[in-house]
């Protein structure tokens, strides 16, 4: 099999030394993690590797030698490098060599105890960006998140093993060249370990802040869960009003953000970050709406426009302005709360349309039911409720006479009832559409994973769908050199994978079943909340 050597691009200009990394025998692949420079004491190198192996559960070992020199290596250096193979026994032993300023590399792999194959394997060099591979996450993940921490994913795929090796070997990358340790390493952080003052300060401050806010939120939820709200009128209102549902949803989100538990795996961390971004966007948009509404007496203009609409409830017309002012104030809690409040107000104001729709629908349904039953009588048939089918039946003459009379009456009254039903149903459908659009907007703000989308835009290597290879300049007789880059996840998959769970109001019926229900006069509630579906 062709031997694949994964070499970090940051070490391509490093001085000569030993190659340290992991050998995966199943894929015949060597992942180089760092270069140990001369001079070193072999005992100390072995101690460091043992410590890294203990910390990270990754089998790190010395894989071979790296030679970066001005011209061809001299005899003495060559024999010195051969001697190292005896000090650090490893099968196969890699010898990478590069001329200073040259573009072409030479790479050999030798096996001392090769049973049948000749002493040298064919080697392919694959360059990878260590920092990007360290920070990226593969989608779909090679190891399922509920698997053991020390589980080995080599059986799932060769490239997943490379990613796993690099990401678990953080212990090796902790020292930089300014440290005065016994062993000098070259890796992506050897120019200086990355850290951010703001991140450290935020970490220190987050402990007490989270504790305070978590206790406040638990206080709020205990108040909300008290027995008063479980009594009949309030519990019924609470389940029907979408504002209460939205407030409950947001409270849950805030409790997730300020919980004292650390996120266990990357998926949970992303969910927390997405929730924070969603809440921030919500509050920002709400404050924008608030400032727009309260500036330049817009509320006065809106109230004047709405007075004829609200006039049917004569009691309400003096209060329209106050209502609008309070609705605007609720936008501090978030745009979604203001929109849910708007949807609830629309529902309450159009309650009369709903009532008339129910009357019209029930009358129409009764009429259709009666007509179909009498039509069967007209033809001499009957509905068998036990067998759930239509059977023939012999009716008496007086039954037939009364039946035909009633049938005629119902038939001639049908156009009037049908027209009333049509008008009220159209108005109701209009209201349902308006409410549905508002709910869709609320759902969008609730479930859009903004942090993940921002990450995909600014740091595309963090969310990886896979890898891509590019063949670098090639010369016959030299090993093949490839550059491995991260292939980022497409935006649609980012949204699909990291969508936050929302209130979940989906249309309950398909178009066909909706039309059938409308035709037969059954009551329709097209947008069902998730809690209603469980009832």
């Amino acid at each position: 099999m062709v031997l694949k050597a994964f070499f970090p691009t940051c070490c391509a200009s490093a001085d000569s030394g030993l190659l340290v990394g992991r050998w995966v025998p199943e894929q015949s692949c060597a992942v180089v993690l760092a270069v140990v420079h001369f001079p070193f004491i072999p005992i100390q190198v072995k101690q460091l590797l043992a410590q890294v192996q203990q910390d990270s559960q990754v089998g790190v070992a010395v894989l071979g030698t790296w030679c970066h020199c001005r011209q061809e290596p001299e005899e003495s250096l060559g024999r010195f490098l051969e001697g190292l193979a005896a000090v650090f026994p490893h099968e196969p032993w890699l010898r990478l060599c590069r001329e200073r300023g040259g573009t072409f590399w030479s790479c050999e792999a030798t096996r001392r105890q090769a049973p049948s194959a000749p002493g040298e394997d064919q080697v392919t060099l694959i360059f990878y960006d260590q920092r990007q591979v360290l920070l990226s996450q593969l989608h779909p993940p090679a190891v399922p998140p509920d698997c053991q921490v020390g589980a080995d994913p080599t059986s799932t795929g060769g490239l997943a093993a490379v990613f796993h090796t690099v990401s678990r070997s953080e212990a090796l990358f902790r020292s930089d060249r300014f440290d005065e340790g016994p062993v000098r390493l070259s890796h992506w952080q050897s120019e200086g370990v990355e850290a951010s003052i703001l991140a450290e300060l935020a970490k220190r401050a987050s402990g007490p802040v989270c504790l305070l806010l978590a206790s406040l939120l638990s206080l709020v939820s205990t108040v909300g869960a008290c027995r008063v709200f479980k009594l009949w009128p309030l519990s019924f209102l609470g389940s029907k009003l979408s504002t209460c549902e939205q407030l409950r949803h947001r409270l849950e989100h805030l409790r997730l953000i300020f919980s004292m538990k650390k996120a266990e795996n990357p998926v949970q961390l992303m969910r927390k970050a997405n929730t924070v971004a969603s809440v921030l966007l919500d509050v920002t948009l709400g404050l924008l709406l608030l400032s727009w509404l309260h500036g330049r007496s817009r509320i006065g203009h809106l109230a004047d426009a709405l007075v004829p609409v609200a006039d049917y409830i004569h009691l309400m017309s003096p209060f329209v302005e106050h209502i609008l002012w309070h609705v605007g104030l609720s936008a501090c809690l978030g745009l979604t709360v203001a929109l849910s409040l708007l949807s609830d107000i629309v529902a309450l104001l159009t309650f009369h349309i709903y009532c008339f729709y129910v009357y019209g629908a029930r009358l129409y349904r009764l009429k259709i039911h009666g007509l179909s039953s009498l039509w069967r009588l007209f033809r001499g048939k009957k509905w068998n409720a036990l067998r759930r089918r239509v059977d023939s039946c012999s009716y008496d003459l007086d039954q037939l006479f009364i039946g035909t009379l009633l049938f005629t009456i119902l038939l001639f009254l049908l156009p009037t009832t049908a027209l009333y039903y049509l008008v009220f149903t159209l108005l109701r459908l209009l209201m349902v559409t308006v409410q549905g659009l508002i709910h869709l907007l609320v759902d969008l703000i609730n479930s859009l994973p903004l942090y993940s989308l921002g990450l995909r835009l600014c740091r595309p290597y963090r969310l990886a769908a896979g890898v891509k290879f590019r063949v670098l300049e090639h010369e016959a007789g030299r090993p093949l050199r490839l550059l491995m880059q991260i292939n980022p996840l497409p935006y649609s998959r980012v949204v699909h994978t990291y969508r936050l769970p929302s209130c979940g109001c989906h249309p309950q019926h398909s178009w066909g079943s909706l039309c059938r229900r409308l035709f037969s006069g059954e009551l329709i509630y097209p947008w069902r909340q998730r809690s209603d579906r469980q009832d």
Binding site: M1, V2, K4, Q27, S28, Q122, T124, I126, G157, G158, L159, G466, V467, K468, F469, V471, H474, L480, L482, N487
Partner: protein, 188 residues
């Protein structure tokens, strides 16, 4: 080693196949599709603008003309960035995998890489496409649960759509590498 030959696609347009042999275990096949023709571009633009001018003479609203220009520009940019594929490349590396790249006319590149462990075989398949019977090259992926089953069929060169003679060349080269791969995987 590099060479270039000219073939035709199923509609009769000219395709150029570039073959690069980097090493005995790494080969690349690059198919260039026919470019966007000036004639069709002019025809579409003229139709859209004539329709807009007709609407303008009915409505006397100059917004229609600016909207038509905007739509033409946005439509052309969208077509070049999302629809028009200039080149399709197949890179096959022994014991690593197979990579397919599509380059769009605006320079965007979309890449898919399939690891060699998942590849079962590369075959030429027949399909009925409208009123024609066409041949296409596809990669068969292994089903991890069932060793003799196929989990997915991935077609290659979907927008270039070369004819059988071109496909046979590519098929032979790929089978040489896959045979090498199978030989080394059975004798470790």
């Amino acid at each position: 080693m590099e060479d270039e030959r000219s073939f035709s696609d199923i509609c009769g347009g000219r395709l150029a196949l570039q073959r690069r042999y980097y090493s005995p275990s790494c080969r690349e096949f690059c198919l260039s599709c026919p470019r966007l023709s000036l004639r069709s571009l002019t025809a579409v633009t003229c139709t859209v603008w004539l329709a807009a001018y007709g609407l303008f003479s009915l409505c006397e609203n100059s917004m229609i003309l600016s909207a038509a220009i905007f739509i033409t520009l946005v439509g052309l940019l969208g077509y070049l960035h999302f629809v028009k594929i200039d080149q399709e490349t197949l890179l096959i590396i022994d014991s690593l995998g197979i990579q397919m790249t599509s380059s769009y006319a605006s320079g965007k590149e979309s890449t898919t890489f399939i690891e060699m462990g998942k590849v079962k075989d590369i075959v030429i398949n027949e399909a009925i496409y409208m009123q024609k019977v066409i041949y296409y090259l596809c990669i068969l992926l292994q089903d991890p649960a069932e060793p003799h089953g196929i989990s997915q069929v991935v077609p290659v060169f979907q927008s270039a759509k070369p004819r059988l003679d071109c496909l046979i060349e590519i098929y032979r080269s790929c089978q040489e590498i896959l045979a090498q791969q199978k030989a080394t995987s059975t004798n470790p």
